[in-house]
């Protein structure tokens, strides 16, 4: 069996904490950090491992700070 798994990498320093990505994620993968980046913004972080790599968050991120990965992996 194989299944699709996804992952996102967020450029914390470029994130402006607008939260637009949160609403876009069907699996509530994203939330805001408690800490702030060097610009003083709370930044987007992953809060679970449910990402399917659907790209919604990345497409809608105004600052284009999200990179999305997706791969087929074998399951046992």
């Amino acid at each position: 069996m194989a299944k699709i798994i996804g992952d996102i990498a967020i450029n914390n320093e470029r994130c402006k904490g607008c939260e637009v990505c949160i609403a876009a994620c069907p699996f509530t993968v994203i939330a805001m950090s408690k800490e702030v980046n060097s610009k003083g913004y709370h930044f987007a972080i992953k809060v679970n491992g449910e990402c399917t790599g659907c790209t919604n968050c990345a497409i809608v991120c105004p600052d284009g700070v999200i990179t999305v990965y997706r791969a087929k992996v074998a399951t046992v």
Binding site: E19, A23, C51
Partner: protein, 267 residues
């Protein structure tokens, strides 16, 4: 710091399904958090990348919040005086007829100070693409009333709400220019949700494909938020936009293949 929930095993270049295009210059955008300008920029650049026409594209940026668009879009650009972008684009396209030429303009730029340039470029049927960011306000100068500001909507120069009796009605310039025979494709889109973004991108692609065929002017309005000017959080502003802007500025195609589309009536 160890990143939680990272699936490091799939973080390989061949597994990347989305990343910011290299046609966006690698620098922070000057826009407020959550502002639609950034998304609109990126979709435009993605289309140029997919069509592989960046080296044959000349862009014209406006005066407004996106005045620095030329710093972010990694293509040759000219910064126009306030409202004059369609005049620049007209000359550029006539002088470089095999290049792709677009303007990127705000609502104050396009529908107030630049109304004449807009209408006449449309009416001449210039083979250019106009990307029109309608946020119902003058973002850059601090949230003053724009020609597109909704009735009753507050701004720094309509602090008690736009009174149409004294301040005039919001101008649907997109509908206005759609009636001009020189205009071939007119659509109104948004960039605040993934689906809207995807549709916007398709519209931009269509416009640039049509430009290649010299079909006439293509006009894409993007209804967008200005959370700073509207004095809301980005998420609130997107909701407010859906509830207030979209009923007045209905999304969807307005003119396709040179023919006007009948819009469904709002209740």
């Amino acid at each position: 710091m160890e990143e939680q929930f990272a699936k490091t095993e799939i973080r390989k270049p061949e597994n990347i399904v989305y990343k910011k295009t290299d046609l966006m210059v690698d620098r922070p955008l000057s826009y407020c958090p959550g502002c639609g300008h950034g998304t609109a920029h990126r979709m435009l650049m993605e289309v140029l990348e997919e069509m592989d026409i960046a080296d044959k594209t000349i862009g014209v940026s406006p005066v407004g919040c996106s005045v620095l668009a030329y710093d972010f879009l990694n293509i040759d650009m000219l910064g126009a005086a306030h409202g004059r972008a369609p005049a620049l684009a007209t000359a550029i396209k006539r002088l470089w007829p095999n290049h792709f030429v677009f303007t990127y303009q705000g609502d104050g730029d396009l529908a107030a100070i630049g109304t004449a340039e807009t209408i006449h470029a449309c009416n001449r049927g210039e083979n250019i693409t106009i990307i029109f960011i309608n946020n119902g306000i003058y973002g850059m100068t601090g949230g003053q009333m724009a020609p597109t500001t909704l009735p009753g909507m507050r701004s720094s120069t309509s602090p008690y709400g736009r009174d149409v009796a004294t301040m005039g009605h919001p101008l649907k310039i997109t509908e206005l220019i759609s009636h001009l025979p020189g205009v071939y494709y007119v659509t109104r889109q948004a960039v605040h949700t993934p689906n809207h973004v995807r549709k916007t991108k398709k519209a931009i692609r269509k416009a640039l494909e049509l430009q290649k065929e010299n079909k006439g002017l293509c006009f894409i309005e993007i209804v967008s938020n200005c959370n700073s000017g509207w004095k809301m959080t980005p998420v609130q502003s997107n909701k407010w936009m859906e509830e207030n802007m979209f009923p007045f500025y209905q999304l969807g195609d307005i003119k396709v293949d040179g023919k006007l589309i009948e819009l469904p009536k709002t209740s």
